[in-house]
């Protein structure tokens, strides 16, 4: 029964196609709604384009341009920036003038001595 239905539907389709395109071949005008839908393959391509392809492309470009570049790479680059700024501060200490270095040594020795005397109780 089902097979019969299938075969007759197939035959009907063939006849229809022959009527439309084979017998008196002329271009079918997209004048009615049904014809327009059929000519455009039921808009399946457009539907896929809209639902799947476009969002994926947008997401892919967003990942490439924003997340990968700015967040993940940015995290690494900003952590480098942190050290660069820190190094910039330390550069001021190393100014090449001996009197400054003498001062640092004096400061360091005094602080160590104070620590030894008051915190650890060292007596001379």
């Amino acid at each position: 029964m089902l097979a019969l239905l299938n075969v007759s539907l197939g035959l009907f389709g063939m006849t229809l196609a022959y009527k439309l395109y084979g017998h008196r071949a002329k271009e079918v005008k997209a004048d009615t709604f049904v014809k327009r839908v059929i000519i455009n393959k039921f808009y399946v391509d457009e539907l896929y384009e809209f639902i799947i392809v476009k969002p994926l492309l947008v997401a892919s470009r967003f990942i490439a341009n924003s997340i990968d570049n700015k967040i993940f790479d940015g995290f690494i680059n900003y952590s480098i920036l942190f050290y660069r700024v820190l190094a910039g501060q330390f550069i001021r200490l190393q100014n090449g003038k001996v009197r400054f270095y003498a001062l640092y040594i004096l400061l360091g020795v005094s602080m160590m001595s104070l620590f030894l005397i008051y915190k650890l109780g060292v007596t001379i």
Binding site: L56, L57, S60, R61, A64, D68, F72, D73, F75, I76
Partner: protein, 483 residues
């Protein structure tokens, strides 16, 4: 003989490189020696396979004292999991040498020899300090190969991979040293052997921190999403042999490390991190796949593809059932073969067209049918085409994921779909369509090139059609570990 066989497999390339280097051998001698060494290793590995008993755990072990005061030993051994990766190294190295045959830069060959020692050593070590040593050894040749022989921003990119990887391995070294110290406190002797360190009782808090140290190293090597900034630039800049080793072997060693040292040291405690890793892996699956869709550089596209599939493998390792574990192991092997083939094809594309940008390629199918066949075959096997090994592996992992949790299963299943999207679109633009490079003269594959690609094709087909040949080798060990 059986005692020293693994040692020979590890150190033969290094020994040959040293002898050749001292003797200042000519490039021809280096080529012949490198190929002979890789073939000798292949034979030795075949001997290992024949003597291997799947029902026993560690085999071919060798344990020698090395630095006695610190309890560091030369302790190596092999079980089913390391055997799989060892076979991969043994098969891929000769093929990579055939690929490199026309390259006359000596440093290139020396680095590959050193690299083979590094990856094999890291794979077979059972002492954590020894493992750490080899883990760093395999990074060095990659650093040189990208920095000296790479392309694009090669020095910047090689520094980037070095810094990222060293960050991970430093945290791992800290964990290793601390565990050694805890062992010393508990027993009064130093030891860094895996079997000793796995026996110590750790407090919950300590083991969480120690696991984090190991996992960071492995997550960067795999790389899981968030730790991947080095990946695409490094793959993009590296010469093809280095890319093949990075994608096919080194990334797999990250997963292997989770298995061997994560589960080996911490056992079920590792599941403290399971939700984190599973979520990262699921995000990675889709993140990398979507990122790959608009990538224009073929090497970078397959870097992201590699990241996506390795996330799947890492996911499988953390889903504790036999399907997921079996699938992950199987995928380690099949993805390595497929990605080695794919990166070789990308290398051959570069030889012919001097570009790997999709926008500058097109219409190859009209002129080079054999090239097209191999290119499409490897690309599709990466996407998980039924009949190739990747399909079996992905299917097993997806089944395992559904067994664990329905939602994880659904997300995992999308990976096959998403891979299809970027692979088919890429194939359409690269192989078909208009011929955009009329000027460049190019030929179809030569016999040498077919010779190095055909074994990979056959392996993918055999693993795809007859998985029952291979699964009995590792199933007993997995079942044992699950209990």
């Amino acid at each position: 003989m059986t005692n020293h066989i693994l040692t020979s497999i590890i150190f033969l390339p290094l020994l040959i490189a040293m002898v050749l280097g001292v003797a200042r051998a000519s490039i021809k001698v280096i080529k012949v020696a490198a190929i002979l060494s890789s073939l000798t290793i292949l034979l030795l590995v075949i001997a290992v396979i024949l003597a291997f008993d799947p029902n026993q755990g560690m085999q071919f072990t060798q344990n020698l004292a090395w630095i006695k005061n610190a309890g560091i030993t030369y302790n190596i051994g092999l079980d089913a999991l390391s055997l799989i990766i060892l076979i991969l190294i043994a098969i891929l190295m000769p093929l990579i040498y055939i690929y490199m045959l026309k390259d006359n830069r000596k440093g290139y060959w020396y680095n590959m020899l050193l690299l083979q020692t590094g990856v094999t050593g890291a794979l077979l070590s059972l002492d954590l300090i020894l493992f750490y040593l080899f883990w760093e050894t395999m990074l060095l040749p990659i650093f040189v190969m990208i920095g000296k022989y790479g392309n694009g921003l090669r020095q910047y990119n090689s520094m980037k991979i070095l810094l990222m990887t060293v960050l991970g391995s430093m945290s791992m070294l800290f964990s290793i040293l601390y565990m050694g110290y805890i062992y010393f406190e508990a027993t009064g002797t130093w030891s860094f052997a895996l079997s000793d360190l796995s026996s110590i009782d750790l407090s919950a808090k300590a083991s969480i921190w120690l696991m984090a140290g190991f996992l960071l190293a492995f997550a960067i090597k795999i790389p899981l999403v968030g730790f991947h900034t080095w990946m695409a630039p490094a793959y993009g800049s590296a010469p093809t042999p280095a890319v093949i080793i990075m994608s096919a072997i080194m990334a797999k060693l990250g997963v292997y490390g989770i298995w061997r040292f994560g589960y080996g040291l911490f056992g079920a405690n590792l599941h403290y991190y399971a939700p984190t890793i599973i979520i990262l892996a699921l995000i990675g699956l889709l993140y990398y796949a979507i990122r790959a869709i608009t990538e224009n550089n073929l090497r970078k596209m397959f870097a992201y593809s590699s990241g996506s599939h390795l996330s799947l493998i890492a996911l499988g390792i953390f889903l504790t059932n036999i399907y997921a574990w079996g699938g992950s192991l199987y995928f380690i092997a099949t993805h390595a073969i497929a990605s080695a083939g794919m990166f070789m094809m990308i290398g051959l594309t570069y030889y012919r067209f001097k570009t790997v940008n999709i926008s500058e390629l097109g219409g190859i199918a009209q002129k080079a049918p054999l090239f097209t066949f191999f290119f499409a075959f490897f690309a599709l096997s990466i996407a998980g085409l039924p009949g190739t090994g990747g399909f079996v592996a992905e299917l097993l992992i997806i089944i395992g994921a559904f067994k664990e949790n329905f939602i994880i299963g659904v997300f995992t299943a999308t990976t096959m779909l998403s891979a299809m999207i970027y692979i088919f679109w890429m194939l359409q633009r690269v192989l078909f369509g208009e011929v955009t490079n009329e000027n460049s003269e190019y030929s179809d594959l030569s016999l040498r090139e077919i010779g190095m690609l055909l074994p990979l094709v056959l392996l993918l087909l055999i693993t795809g059609i007859m998985p029952s040949l291979f699964i009995p080798y590792f199933e007993p060990q997995l079942l044992g570990a699950l209990q």
